[in-house]
């Protein structure tokens, strides 16, 4: 087991190098509008150096004058030591900005995820036990509608109904107008109020896939021989479903839940942008739009790390949860 984990970790690191190199290459090959834009601005100041000189100086200061490979190695040597450079847009070290916004995204993601679990698992189980009943159709259709809903459209409808027509929530932002006047408790409530719609959007849009996953796995288990045996033994249906079937359904569920944990940090780019919630998603979106290479580079590497971590965790979880799975060393 340990050998397997070590092997996987090494492989992940290798993949990470490749991914970050690809991302770096793509970013470097793009017309770096930000540098040029800044150079134009600086050169227009009275008595300033001409544009070409500024461009050269800026490129040198950002390590853009080197070839792609040396540039990547420079970036890598910094990144290994935890130095990702200064964000061009936010003019602070990338990690500082990251630290500032990540927790909001995490809290939002975590609340949404817990709600998803609470909604999806019971409904999925019920749908599977009553296959082809009206409930099953409703759950399946509901899950598919959730999956099919484009986030931006659903978020806008929520805004129209709850912010504009009912006036319960603000349209944008994390804090209200008189946030500064509130006490600590009031501030927390104010933020919570502003997070209701984004979290609702996240839950509705992503609850469907978990619901379907639960249903499919539950169905598979219910068709298994040991369930027939349990029924033949004369166990009550309740016992069959909740003690024999559901427990076995938990195997794939726990695997997938474990795999989604790193994803909680990735932030919801679209939802955060729509509601202007200053989490990691919105912050990176703003940075990426103006071609802020240090921040984009960091964010994309971070996402790659999260993906690798979630793959690794689900594989390990699978072996841990299911005693039948033995990993060959």
């Amino acid at each position: 087991m340990r050998k397997y984990i070590i092997k996987r970790l090494l492989l992940s690191v290798m993949i990470l190098f490749c991914v970050s190199f690809i991302i770096y290459t793509i970013l470097r090959c793009l017309p770096s509008s930000y540098v040029e834009h800044t150079a134009i601005q600086l050169s227009q100041a009275p008595g300033a150096k001409p544009y070409e000189e500024w461009l050269e100086q800026l490129n040198a200061s950002y390590g853009m004058d080197k070839g792609i490979l040396p540039g990547y190695l420079t970036w890598l040597s910094g990144a290994v030591r935890g130095q990702f450079g200064d964000s061009w847009k936010y003019t602070v070290p990338v990690l500082e900005k990251f630290n500032e916004v990540i927790w909001l995204s995490f809290i939002m993601g975590a609340i949404a995820f817990i709600l998803e679990l609470i909604i999806a698992i019971p409904l999925g189980v019920i749908a599977a036990t009553k296959q082809y009943s009206r409930t099953d159709y409703a759950v399946t259709a509901g899950a598919l509608v959730g999956i099919s809903l484009p986030t931006f459209f659903f978020a806008t409808i929520l805004k129209l109904i709850f912010s504009v027509n009912l006036g319960w929530f603000d349209l944008y932002g994390l804090v209200g107008r008189d946030y500064a006047k509130l006490d600590a408790m009031g501030r927390l409530l104010d933020m919570g109020n502003h997070l209701v719609l984004p979290i609702a959007t996240l839950v509705i849009v992503s609850v469907g896939s978990l619901m379907r996953y639960t249903r499919t796995n539950m169905l598979e288990v219910l068709n298994a021989d040991y369930i027939r045996t349990a029924r033949a033994k004369g166990l009550s249906e309740k016992k069959v479903i909740y003690q024999h079937a559901f427990r076995n359904t938990l195997i794939p569920l726990v695997t997938i839940i474990g795999g989604s944990l790193p994803g909680l940090f990735s932030g919801a780019l679209i939802t955060e942008t729509l509601f202007m919630i200053p989490g990691i998603g919105y912050t990176s979106y703003e940075a990426m739009r103006i071609g802020d290479i240090p921040f984009s580079m960091f964010y994309m590497t971070f996402l790659a790390v999260l993906t690798l971590a979630s793959n690794l965790i689900s594989d390990i979880m699978y072996a841990v949860v299911d005693p039948r799975v033995r990993i060959a060393d």
Partner: protein
């Protein structure tokens, strides 16, 4: 009735030949494909999805042909913009005209006013007696020692061209108040017509009127005819009138009276030719128009075409790449598998949405042509999407190639390429179809999201995503539902259709499903 039915049944039974027990015809034989179809059509959600898809395809591909408008046809409308044109004051003060070579200053004017108010026919000032003679209604002449000093009148003589002499003015006013048609001044005969024009033979010297028309802006010089028309309208207490000017352009005016300043302000309705933007749904535009004055319904049809075509092309690219690479990896195993699967791992880790946003921003900066941009978008989406399909194909082929029929193909000496594409791939097709249908839905959502963010399909091309972009302004969101709700619903129906059908196919292909 009962009997009839029974007879019918008996007849039917007689018509049916009695099959022997082992007759094949006793069993309804269905090919596997027919069974899949049967299972599919028994699934109500799947059928609903199929109908939804059909509707969306007809809407997008045939609708665009039927629609009388083009994708980027802009519509205009005339908009009445009311602008202050002139102000009209009815003169209620005396206006004084001094005779040639005489003076009638403000003190005298005030004394005269007093005298008129007290109905005296003379007043004194600094030892001089001034005589006031009422020559008609609101027309007085003031004279001292037998010489006429001035006239005071509420009607005003407006000169047309050269200044009108005092004598003519006097005569005209006198004739006007007493409703005479001609008068003589300086031994010359002048005529006064009904509209108050002072005529010297044929030429119009000026006209008499009680209204003062002053223009609100420097470039407006109201014509004489306009003023006359305006007076009659004001006399009749009308609030609206239209007037055709010398160039034959018809303008409409609105008149409002302000009691405190006692002025009529006349506003001109200038018809401005503007884009018919955000028109409410009407007969010509069933779903109204968008911000550029384009027909919404037509945009939706063409947008659907773009969205669906992009979806299909992307999925085709994904599938071709995924099947080839996944097939190779699964069949050859060993280092080929190793290599391809590592590439898949790497592609899996590249965050696609951020990458496309960055590429989109770069294309924005480089001002890439919208049609080329659309091509890039499809290539990028397809190129980032193949690893999932490659994994699926590889997994299937890994388990299939250990089966007996593959050993048989090897024993028969069938070519490798034929073994892969003729014997292995067809067995993967069911899962492939399901995955492709589902990923059509998600690709359409992805494209719509990017277009919504302004990173995907760009104007002048329509796509369901970029139609909804207008909603970014809160005003549009709250006031013009028809701009974004229909597009969102189209998007939802199409994606839902793909997902329902995909889900139905998955169930139908699964032989374990009891249905």
């Amino acid at each position: 009735m009962e009997e009839n039915k029974q007879n019918m049944q008996e007849q039917n039974e007689q018509e049916k030949e009695p099959y022997s027990l082992n007759d094949d015809r006793r069993v309804k034989v269905l090919s596997p494909n027919a069974m899949v179809l049967q299972r599919f059509f028994r699934n109500r959600l799947a059928v609903l999805g199929l109908i939804m898809l059909l509707v969306m395809f007809v809407f997008s591909f045939i609708g665009g042909v039927i629609s009388p408008y083009r994708e980027d046809e802009q519509f205009y409308r005339y908009e009445d913009q009311m602008k202050e044109y002139v102000g009209v004051v009815r003169n209620n003060d005396f206006r004084y005209t001094a005779a040639d070579g005489q003076k009638f200053d403000t003190i005298l004017q005030a004394e005269f006013q007093l005298a008129v108010n007290n109905e005296r026919d003379s007043f004194e000032y600094k030892g001089t007696t001034y005589e006031v003679l009422e020559e008609g209604e609101d027309l007085y002449s003031i004279s001292a020692d037998g010489t006429m000093l001035a006239i005071a009148a509420k009607d005003i003589v407006n000169a047309e061209g050269a200044e009108v002499s005092f004598d003519v003015k006097y005569g005209a006013l006198k004739a006007y108040t007493n409703e005479e048609e001609s008068f003589t001044a300086n031994g010359k005969e002048y005529e006064l017509d009904e509209e108050g024009n002072i005529l010297d033979g044929e030429t119009v010297l000026g006209y008499v009127s009680r209204f003062v028309v002053s223009s609100e802006s420097a470039d407006v010089v109201p014509s004489r005819v306009f003023k006359e028309e305006l007076e009659t309208v004001i006399d009749n207490d009308e609030t609206e009138f239209t007037f055709v000017d010398e160039d034959g352009v018809e303008n409409s005016y609105k008149i409002s009276y302000d009691a405190t300043t006692m002025t009529w302000s006349v506003k001109q309705g200038r018809e401005t030719y503007v884009y018919d933007s955000y028109a409410k749904p009407n007969k010509e535009h069933w779903l109204g128009t968008d911000s550029n004055g384009m027909d919404m319904l037509t945009r939706l049809m063409y947008g659907g075409r773009v969205s669906l075509i992009i979806g299909f092309i992307v999925v085709i690219i994904e599938t071709v790449l995924g099947v080839i690479l996944g097939g190779l990896a699964g069949y050859f195993g060993k280092w080929v598998d190793m290599l391809i699967m590592r590439i898949v791992d790497i592609f899996y880790c590249i965050p696609s949405l951020p990458l496309i946003i960055i590429l989109g921003a770069a294309m924005d900066a480089a001002k890439v042509d919208p049609s080329i941009r659309m091509l890039y978008l499809m290539l990028i989406l397809g190129f980032l999407g193949w690893p999932a399909i490659a994994r699926l194909v590889r997994g299937q082929i890994l388990s299939l190639r250990e089966q007996e029929f593959m050993t048989a193909t090897e024993a028969c000496g069938i070519r490798v390429s034929r073994r892969i594409f003729k014997h292995l791939i067809p067995n993967v097709i069911p899962q492939l179809i399901v995955t492709c249908t589902m990923s059509l839905g998600s690709t359409i959502i992805m494209e719509a999201t990017l277009s919504f963010l302004g990173m995907g399909v760009k104007f002048p091309f329509a796509s369901w995503g970029n139609i909804i972009t207008d909603v970014n302004s809160a005003y549009v969101m709250t006031h013009y539902w028809f701009v974004w709700i229909p597009a969102g619903i189209c998007l939802l129906i199409a994606v839902l259709g793909f997902n329902f059908v995909g889900d139905g196919l998955r169930d139908a292909f699964d032989p374990k499903m009891k249905r």
